[in-house]
Each structure stands twice: as structure tokens, then as C-alpha cells.
């Protein structure tokens, strides 16, 4: 066997993460099996009907740009990249009469530890993203777009490029789409290993062929984006939600979730569960139900804690988490954030100091170095957690940890600084005794001898 053949034996099949049949009312992952990603299969599932509808190719009257944006507003779709910003509102910020070039960018740089939902969308249903982007481009009068794909998932990048070829050949992309006066060129671009490029302005710098260092906001990309032109950036899953909304209406989408939290959302569950994977469920579903779908806590152990929205989100202890429903508002009220939808489950055998140490290492490693509080602070945090974990901590470290974290927050160009600080503060808030116990053990003479 060639090396290539050997490596292919270990490729993911999607059975465990996507085609397990344990979604609830799925829209994006509905009816996928791994071999039906291509254009004709997508069309058989109703694909590209939404694009036909707005362009009046289905015999109807078509939708104006304003109508498309109004429908997305009505749906209460919120950005699936983490911040939950209302998508219709973001689209309405684009200067539609702007005379020069404008750009549409899809953020598929999924790198938030715990998140692997966009990968399965792009691998097994790539056309849903292409159709969603084509609709968005139409609504905002944009003629060129890019999909920035995480460098580590190269097979997904190749799959997306193959889907682009199909869409171009079928006339869904390119000049005069389906004979209309509307044109849209879409290309794929890949990263090469820098978490920070998921931050939208770092992503733009990277697309421009530079180091991925975030820009100050404002100006937001809507006024100064790619190559300095007005640009709208949305997450992969955000675009993937759009065709369903156009086909079924904003109200129908809203009703799938709960008020202010429209639709379904894909959660990537990792850690101590029996069945890790991606689960598409309506927003507002109880966390307990989601945990049940994932087979419950592994090996019959007890739930200790959950990081509900990717590693940047504050950890929540089991008793608080079990009261939450999975939507932006409920998780925010509980003191954390829904973020990218990565649910990291930890059982009662887990050592929180050790867990935080690994996360702190990550943020130190990924800081782009522009801002002093982030560049210096993330290293300082890691060194402190590391020494506490190794039994070398001092009692004064507890206050210092909190103080350093507090002083990073709100003092940096991008949210990575906050993302490094928030987990630290949440860990010492909810699991203070574990840190104190390690520090106390370090102070006992027996240990020193």
C-alpha cells in the first residue's frame, strides 16, 4: 500500500459525529450520509430552491434585497461564530449603494478548542454554504466572496473547492447567475495554523497575505474590510442557515427556536461523554437533553463541570449547567456564553488546575503579540497555573491570578485577551478549593522533605 492509501484508512467517516440520527429537527445536517454531498444530491434535497426563489426562477415574483434582509431579521438568526450578533442587522449595515467593490467572507477558520461543526457542514453539505453565501451576496449587492477555511482541515478545503466547481458549472455561481443580471464569484482560501485568524479582522489581514494580527474595531468590516472595502463576515453555520430561512420564512425559523434565539444550532460535544460528536438541536433545548443525546457522562461517572461555548467561555459547575437551556440568553444569564457551541464536558475525576493549565498554555501560544497585556499576561497566567499544578504555588498566587486576569480584560485590541482571562477567573470562582488545596500541600514541610 502507498502512504496515501494507508493514511486514508484513518479518515473520519462522519458516522460518529454527524450521521448518528440523534439530532432534533435538523435543518443543516438533515438527511446526510457522507456520500450525498454533491450538487445533484443537494438539489434532490431541495437545494438551490431558495436562490431560485429570490431570483424568480421558480415562477414566483422573486425577492428584493430589502425583502431578503427583512426575512433574515425576522428569523432572529444570530451569528454562529460565537458573538451571537443578529445577522439581519449586520447585513443591513452594508452600504448597498457603495460604488466600488464590496466583499463577502465566510469564516470557516474553526479553531476554538472543542468546535468541529463547520468541518462537518463543509465536508458533507458544502452546497448549503455556497447557496447561503450567494443569497447573502445578492441581498447586499456583493459580487466577490471568499471562504477562509481552517488550514488543518485540508481535505475539507478540497471538498469545498470541488463543490465550487460544480456550482460554477451549473450556473449557480459566476456571471449572470441563472440568466439573471446578478453575478457572484466565490473562492476558497485556506489558513495554515493560527487560531487568531478566526478573529474577523485578523482573518482579513490573513486574506490580504499578511500576518494575522487583528485590527482595531471600529471601524467594523462593514465600513473598512478586505482591501479596505466594505465587507460582511459571517460564520459557516450562519450562512448554512440562510437557505432554509428563505424557503420557509423568517417566522418559521424563529419558531424552531425560542424568542430572540431563532432556529437550530449545532453543538460540538467533546470530553467525558459516551458519544462525542455534533448535535443539531433547536435553540432552547435543555442541556440535560443534549447530554442525554450524547450518551450521558462517560463510564457512569458524575458530571462535574461544563465549558458550554468553546474554551474561551467561562466554565460552569454541574448544578448550574443542569438548569440551563442551550441558547444565547440562558447561558449568558448563568454567567457564561454560548460562544461557538463547543460543549466540553468534564466528569468528577477531572483536576481543574491541570485543565486550566492546558487552556492557559493555548492562549499564551496563540497570542499574536500586538498588545502588551495579552502578550505578557497570557504567559504570566500560564506560569502561575503551571507552578500551582506542580506543587510550587504560593498562597498569594490566588489573588495575583485574579488580578492579572482582570487587568487583561478590556485592555486589548481583540477578544483573545478576554478569552484567556475569563476561563481563569471562572475556574478560580467555581473551583477555588482545588487551587487552594494544591497550594496548601505545597506549603506543608512533609512535601519539602
Amino acid at each position: 500500500m502507498s502512504a496515501e492509501q494507508i493514511l486514508n484508512q484513518f479518515r473520519a467517516t462522519g458516522v460518529q459525529t454527524c450521521f448518528h440520527g440523534r439530532h432534533i429537527n435538523p435543518q443543516i445536517y438533515a438527511d446526510l450520509n457522507g456520500s450525498n454531498w454533491s450538487l445533484k444530491d443537494y438539489e434532490a434535497r431541495g437545494g438551490y430552491q431558495a436562490l431560485r426563489k429570490i431570483l424568480a426562477q421558480d415562477g414566483g415574483e422573486g425577492l428584493t434585497q430589502d425583502q431578503v434582509i427583512a426575512t433574515v431579521k425576522e428569523s432572529a438568526l444570530r451569528g454562529r461564530g460565537g458573538a451571537g450578533f443578529p445577522s439581519g442587522l449586520k447585513w443591513s449595515f452594508m452600504p448597498r449603494q457603495f460604488p466600488g467593490q464590496k466583499y463577502l467572507v465566510c469564516n470557516s477558520d474553526e479553531g476554538e478548542p472543542g468546535t468541529c461543526k463547520d468541518r462537518d457542514i463543509l465536508m458533507y453539505n458544502p452546497h448549503i454554504v455556497i447557496e447561503g453565501m450567494a443569497i447573502a451576496a445578492y441581498a447586499m449587492g456583493i459580487s466577490v466572496g471568499y471562504n477562509y477555511i481552517h488550514g488543518e482541515i485540508f481535505e475539507v478545503y478540497e471538498r469545498f473547492e470541488a463543490a465550487l466547481e460544480e456550482a460554477r458549472a451549473a450556473g449557480y455561481l459566476g456571471d449572470n447567475i441563472m440568466g439573471s443580471s446578478y453575478s457572484f464569484q466565490l473562492h476558497a482560501h485556506h489558513g495554515f495554523g493560527a487560531y487568531i485568524c478566526g478573529e474577523e479582522t485578523a482573518l482579513l489581514e490573513s486574506l490580504e497575505g499578511k500576518k494575522g494580527q487583528p485590527r482595531f474595531k471600529p471601524p467594523f468590516p462593514a465600513s473598512f474590510g478586505l482591501y479596505g472595502k466594505p465587507t460582511t463576515i459571517n460564520n459557516t453555520e450562519t450562512f448554512a442557515a440562510v437557505p432554509w430561512i428563505i424557503r420557509n420564512g423568517g417566522q418559521a425559523y424563529l419558531e424552531c427556536g425560542k424568542p430572540n434565539n431563532g432556529g437550530t444550532k449545532i453543538f460540538s460535544i467533546s470530553g467525558d461523554v459516551e458519544l462525542p460528536g455534533n448535535y443539531e438541536i433547536p435553540l432552547g433545548t435543555p442541556f440535560s437533553k443534549l447530554l442525554e443525546l450524547a450518551g450521558g457522562v462517560r463510564k457512569g461517572r458524575q458530571l462535574k463541570a461544563v465549558i458550554p461555548g468553546g474554551s474561551s467561555a467561562p466554565v460552569l459547575p454541574a448544578h448550574i449547567m443542569m438548569e440551563c437551556t442551550m441558547d444565547y440568553d440562558s447561558i449568558a444569564k448563568a454567567g457564561s456564553m454560548l460562544g461557538s457551541g463547543a460543549v466540553i464536558v468534564m466528569d468528577d475525576s477531572r483536576d481543574m488546575v491541570e485543565s486550566l493549565k492546558r487552556l492557559s498554555y493555548f492562549y499564551m501560544h496563540e497570542s499574536c503579540g500586538q498588545c502588551t497585556p495579552c502578550r505578557e499576561g497570557t504567559g504570566w497566567l500560564w506560569r502561575m497555573v503551571d507552578r500551582i499544578d506542580r506543587g510550587l504555588g504560593k498562597p498569594s498566587d490566588m489573588a495575583l491570578l485574579d488580578n492579572v486576569a482582570e487587568n487583561i480584560m478590556g485592555r486589548t485590541i481583540c477578544a483573545l485577551g478576554d478569552a484567556a482571562a475569563m476561563p481563569v477567573r471562572a475556574m478560580i470562582k467555581h473551583f477555588r478549593h482545588e487551587f487552594e488545596a494544591k497550594i496548601a500541600a505545597a506549603q506543608t514541610p512533609a512535601k519539602a522533605a
Binding site: F154, E155, F192, K210, S270, P276, E366
Partner: protein, 170 residues
């Protein structure tokens, strides 16, 4: 380092570059730098200063503009690595599901520590941050382009033995 021109690349490689450059506006050729560097890495195993300079000439930018990109992004190899570069994710979600164990198993099996290359030049072993495949843990990326999922110790053995055999070194 004598000839620093785009002609340092063969025609097929230039063809692959051209395809990338065509995605961007004419005056923004530099946008293709990441894709071109990854093509160079795939073909040559790493990105040498000479390759950077030649790519800069092709993209019509200063070599430092290319070098900044090579050094910023984690996946570019700035020096030669083994024939197979193994990147094992050990970030928290993977750590909870044996990511660290997989790395240790490979260290043991290959007789090297992470960051090192085997004496026969076959394998380089690295720890990496989230690969975006967390639910498949333990996961490992091989040569930047092949994701290997659910890598139990037995599968790691199979993979290493298989790759060795494919190179006639079992």
C-alpha cells in the same frame, strides 16, 4: 543561492501558483502567499529562504513580506522535517480523551521526544493545538493534509508500521 527568480520553480508548480493568484484582484497577488507556501512545503518538505525569495519574485513583493508569513503561521516548516510529520492534538478537549496518551505512545514507539525527528529521517513528532476535529479525539494530522481520527494506540501502531513498510523500512 544564485538564481532568485520565479523560474526557480518548474512549470507545474508555477501552474499551481497561477491558479491561486487568479482568485484575487490583480494588484493583490500577495493574497496567494499562504497557498503558494503550502504548495512549496508539499513539494519540497519545507520552506527554505531560497524558496521564499523565489516566491517573492513570483508574487512581485519583497522577500521579507513572504518571510513574515512563513514565521507567523504554525504549520510552515522552516527547516527540513521527517518524511512524515505527525501532529497530535493535546488541547483540553483532546486531553480529556487520550490526546496526551496518544502523543506519549508515539514518543515511546518512535523512540523520540516531541519536537524531534527519528534518526532515519522518517518521522517528526509534534504536539499541536486544536485541529478542529475534537469529537474524533485522539486526532493526528499527518503532513499537513491528512487528518487521522480516533487514533487508539493500536491504530497508531498500524499507521506507523504501515508507513514504514510503504517506505521499505519495516
Amino acid at each position: 543561492m544564485s538564481t532568485v527568480t520565479p523560474e526557480s520553480f518548474n512549470e507545474a508548480t508555477i501552474g499551481r501558483f497561477d491558479r491561486e493568484v487568479a482568485k484575487y484582484p490583480d494588484e493583490q497577488r500577495i493574497s496567494a502567499v499562504m497557498a503558494c507556501l503550502s504548495i512549496i512545503q508539499q513539494e519540497q518538505g519545507f520552506v527554505s529562504p531560497a524558496a521564499e525569495a523565489a516566491l517573492a519574485a513570483y508574487l512581485r513583493v519583497e522577500p521579507i513580506a513572504v518571510h513574515e508569513v512563513t514565521t507567523f503561521y504554525n504549520m510552515y516548516n522552516q527547516r527540513p522535517v521527517g518524511k512524515f510529520k505527525l501532529n497530535v492534538c493535546t488541547n483540553l478537549p483532546c486531553q480529556l480523551r487520550d490526546g496526551q496518551k496518544a502523543l506519549h505512545h508515539l514518543e515511546h514507539k518512535l523512540g523520540i521526544a516531541m519536537g524531534e525527528t527519528t534518526a532515519d529521517g522518517m518521522f517528526t513528532l509534534q504536539q499541536s493545538e486544536c485541529l478542529g476535529a475534537c469529537a474524533d479525539s485522539p486526532v493526528m494530522l499527518v503532513n499537513d493534509r491528512h487528518m487521522c481520527s480516533f487514533m487508539s494506540n493500536e491504530k497508531l501502531d498500524q499507521l506507523v508500521d504501515g508507513l514504514r513498510a510503504s517506505e521499505g523500512k519495516s
